[in-house]
């Protein structure tokens, strides 16, 4: 069915890195937001072969003579953002067939998509691309860097787990739950049958009905392999839970599988249940919305993220595909505006998603030993006036605002005329 997806799966889960263009890179920063540790004023980030070897005050760092130096002494340096769950840059994120755990997002990633370009423009350095929520068992995802000409170039982790969804697909909510249970039971039955046949083979061999030199050669059905791995907890499931009503089923499934919960917007009525998971979760990009009371018709603003924060549930933020929710700064500021701690907001796009993705050893903060993935900002990461000046991935400068043709086009760079007008003109 899909030869390439099987090939990519064979790449294994080892971390694929890009060869660092510079052996030694030093970034002089006005301010370093390490995320994991304290903020460093007037510091230096030193990278050798794409890895961070030192993050400290400028006075405490000796920059090697052969280092390439990036001067950001009037800017803020921090780790690039990590997206825990996205369908950005994907062509056809939802296969029409519902039960397709054997497909891979690798075949749908469009390296030329402007979305990846936008990632760098917004300081996003790592994305987890996975099939969409309009599915039942929807295929495996991969962790990518938004930089490179081919999927292979972009790959950080080639197989990140399988997508499952409780989003009703043309039927009711219960039907979706039933279908998912059925699909899983089918594989369990297949496995039981497989084991039964294998056992019978061994017994017949022992009894001499089968020649002693004949071996059992049958392997697990490749189309069922991802779910078999899921059942054996060899691979992770990424379960989309559209709303509060599906949380109970999600809790049940989490007993059976190694699952990451990806929530839709309306989960505020199931916060205590979600807290029972005792795990970090991924939340929807719609961070605030209104709810009308059926009785009083009074409107209430809801921010599920704030309720999760209050319940002590760490969460990773998602970005919208358009509108202001596509900007990391807006998403984090929306959290803070709703009373969430600033630190938690920043971690929701750095450390928490890195932890959820199991890549916190290399990603999510500016820490010695981690990969040199950092962004240089013109100001505070939560301010509306801040722009991403440049992005460095694994010690390599991959984005510079001064060389961003699309941005220059939108700003129609021209010699500026006189200052802004003091009084509006005559019109009426």
């Amino acid at each position: 069915m899909n030869a390439r997806s099987i090939l990519t799966a064979a790449f294994g889960a080892a971390l694929c890195t890009i060869a660092a263009a510079q052996d030694v890179l030093a970034v002089k920063a006005g301010k370093i937001l390490t995320v994991s540790g304290p903020t460093i004023e007037n510091g230096v980030v030193l990278m050798h072969n794409g890895r961070i070897t030192k993050v400290a005050k400028a006075a405490d760092v000796e920059i090697p003579w052969d280092a390439k130096v990036v001067d950001a002494s009037d800017k803020t340096v921090m780790p690039t953002w990590v997206l825990a769950h996205t369908q950005g840059g994907i062509r056809g994120a939802n296969e029409n067939l519902q039960n397709v755990p054997y497909v891979s997002i690798a075949d749908a990633v469009d390296p030329a998509a402007t979305w990846f370009e936008d990632c760098l423009r917004n300081g996003v350095g790592t994305v987890h691309a996975i099939p969409g929520n309009q599915t039942l068992l929807g295929g495996s995802g991969m962790i990518l860097r938004p930089y490179g000409r081919t999927v292979e170039d972009m790959a950080v982790v080639t197989s990140s787990g399988v997508k499952l969804s409780l989003q009703a697909q043309g039927g009711g909510r219960l039907q979706q739950i039933r279908r998912l249970r059925k699909a899983i039971e089918d594989v369990q039955e297949y496995l039981a049958d497989f084991d039964r046949r294998k056992k019978a083979f061994e017994e017949e061999k022992k009894a001499g009905a089968i020649p002693a030199d004949k071996e059992w050669t049958e392997e697990h059905d490749r189309l069922k392999k991802p779910v078999i791995d899921l059942l054996a907890k060899k691979t992770r499931g990424w379960l989309y839970v559209p709303g509060a009503a599906e949380v109970d089923e999600a809790l049940r499934l989490s007993q059976q599988f190694d699952l990451v919960m990806v929530f839709g917007p309306g989960i505020h009525k199931a916060i205590p249940e979600i807290a029972k998971l005792k795990a970090a979760v991924v939340i929807d990009d719609a961070l605030e919305f209104y709810e009308t009371d059926d009785e009083t018709q009074q409107e209430r603003k809801i921010c599920p993220a704030k309720q999760l924060a209050d319940a002590g549930v760490p969460f990773a933020l998602s970005l919208a595909t358009n509108g202001p929710g596509a900007y990391p700064w807006w998403q984090m500021a929306t959290c803070v505006r709703n009373g969430i701690d600033r630190r938690a907001a920043i971690e929701a796009l750095t450390l928490v998603p890195a932890r959820i993705l199991g890549i916190e050893k290399d990603f999510g903060s500016l820490t010695e030993g981690k990969l040199g993935n950092l962004q240089i900002l013109t100001g505070d990461p939560l301010a509306a006036t801040t722009w991403v000046d440049s992005v460095i991935l694994e010690g390599q400068v991959v984005y510079e605002r001064s060389k961003d043709p699309r941005l220059q086009y939108l700003f129609s760079k021209e010699p500026a005329k006189a200052a802004a007008p003091a009084t509006p003109g005559e019109g009426k």
Binding site: N322, A383, A384
Partner: protein, 412 residues
């Protein structure tokens, strides 16, 4: 703007306030905030004195506070004038504002569709907007008469500042959308409507104004003079009423300017997403420009209506050419709160003071209400917002919204 009408509205506003007159009668002082008065430099650690629904004084820390004043400490907060949305995105009731009976309905009044209990008012108030300009929908060529009203109140009559402030005309493909040229269908079908093209849209405008011109030359008792639609158009031709022309693309903006010049009426260009292509023409025509929802503009495409290509540089270019512009939420349903739209303008390079003026002083001036609203000065309506931080900080919230000297919305 009908001056008499404004006075009547003011009296009504005061009458309605009677129930809570005690709160309004007291002199209240807000002390300690950074005051951005609108159209003037910021005052740190300022004092804002209000009574009887009006501002008594605005000044620095030394501003005298009379004895018996209720003093509210707002140290660390920022106060701006109540925001004014010159093209209010009205989420609900849009069906109510597009009359399907005809393409040219100049005499229909949007005021008659407004329900003060609509949640949209509550949300808008909570976002710091105290005055809105609501227009007829964009699905008719000439949609109807726009109204200006305060966002707080139970009775539209008491909220209204202008019941017939503007006449909306729409260019482009929107008024012809869904209309169908006859092709076998019945002539009686509701789909058999004109216009079906841009040419048709422009012709409907021309025809309407030709008729109005002709009617102006008729004697007073001629039946044509009595036509309510033509009467509105005649007011436009006499420059007693301004047109707001919704024109997104360059082509439509040029057409809008051409029509205004041809018939000699005053127009404001609304939703001018491609204004960046026609800066010189806009400056020469001395028109005001409304720009809706700058937040919707994306680096990688999108955000443009009717084939328009928005640019981040639109507002800076308008500013550089001294074209007066106002930021609105406009027709984009995905628009954010007005203050956030101005924040996106700041992100794209507009000076914060100018951005604030574009949602306070300037719309007040445009709507002919500069003497009452839009800035914080003695004698003006006590409409203001206490923000938890600088209003253009994306983490800021409107902690208190005051309208006519009363708190109409509060948050943490």
């Amino acid at each position: 703007m009908n001056v008499q009408l404004t006075r009547v509205a003011t009296l009504l506003a005061l009458a309605v306030g009677a129930a809570t007159a005690t709160a309004q009668d007291k002199i209240t002082a807000l002390r300690g905030a950074r005051i951005l008065p609108g159209g003037a430099p910021a005052i740190d650690n300022g004092v804002l004195l209000i009574a009887q629904g009006r501002i008594q004084a605005v000044g620095g820390a030394s501003t005298p506070i009379p004895e018996g004043t209720v003093v509210i400490d707002v140290t660390g907060k920022t106060i701006t004038p109540g925001l004014i949305d010159a093209n209010w995105r009205f989420g609900t009731g849009s069906l109510d504002r597009n009359e399907q009976g005809d393409e040219v309905t100049p005499h229909l009044r949007v005021l008659d569709t407004l329900d003060p209990a609509d949640r949209q008012f509550e949300r808008t108030r909570a976002a710091g907007v105290t005055t809105v300009h609501v227009m007829a929908g964009t699905q008719n060529v000439i949609g109807g008469l726009g109204a200006v009203l305060k966002t707080a109140g139970q009775d539209v009559d008491a909220m209204v500042l202008g019941s017939e402030t503007s006449l909306r005309v729409t260019m482009g493909s929107e008024p012809s959308m869904g209309n169908r040229a006859i092709r076998g269908g019945s002539v009686e079908s509701i789909y058999y409507r004109r216009p079906t093209t841009r040419m048709g849209v422009v012709w409907e405008v021309r025809k309407a104004f030709y008729d109005a011109k002709e009617a102006m030359n008729q004697t007073l008792n001629d039946p044509q003079q009595q036509d309510p639609g033509l009467q509105v158009l005649m007011r436009v031709l006499k420059k007693e009423l301004a047109v707001v022309t919704t024109a997104r693309s360059e082509q439509d903006i040029r057409t809008a300017l051409r029509l205004a010049a041809e018939f000699g009426y005053t127009t404001v260009i609304d939703e001018a997403q491609e204004a960046h292509y026609v800066i010189d023409e806009l400056a020469a025509a001395k028109v005001w420009v409304l720009v809706g929802a700058p937040s919707a503009d994306r680096v990688t495409g999108g955000g443009g209506g009717d084939g328009a290509e928005p640019r981040f540089s639109t507002l800076t270019k308008l500013a550089a050419a001294n074209v007066p512009f106002v930021i609105t939420t406009g027709t984009n349903q995905a628009a954010l709160d007005l203050v956030r739209e101005a924040m996106f303008a700041v992100r794209n390079g507009i000076d914060p003071q100018l951005a604030l003026d574009s949602i306070t002083v300037r719309p007040a001036q445009l709507l002919g209400l500069g003497d009452r609203i839009g800035s914080l000065a003695a004698g003006k309506d006590a409409d203001f917002v206490v923000w938890t931080a600088d209003p253009f900080d994306p983490t800021a919230v409107a902690a208190q919204v005051w309208c006519n000297g009363l708190t109409v919305s509060e948050s943490r």
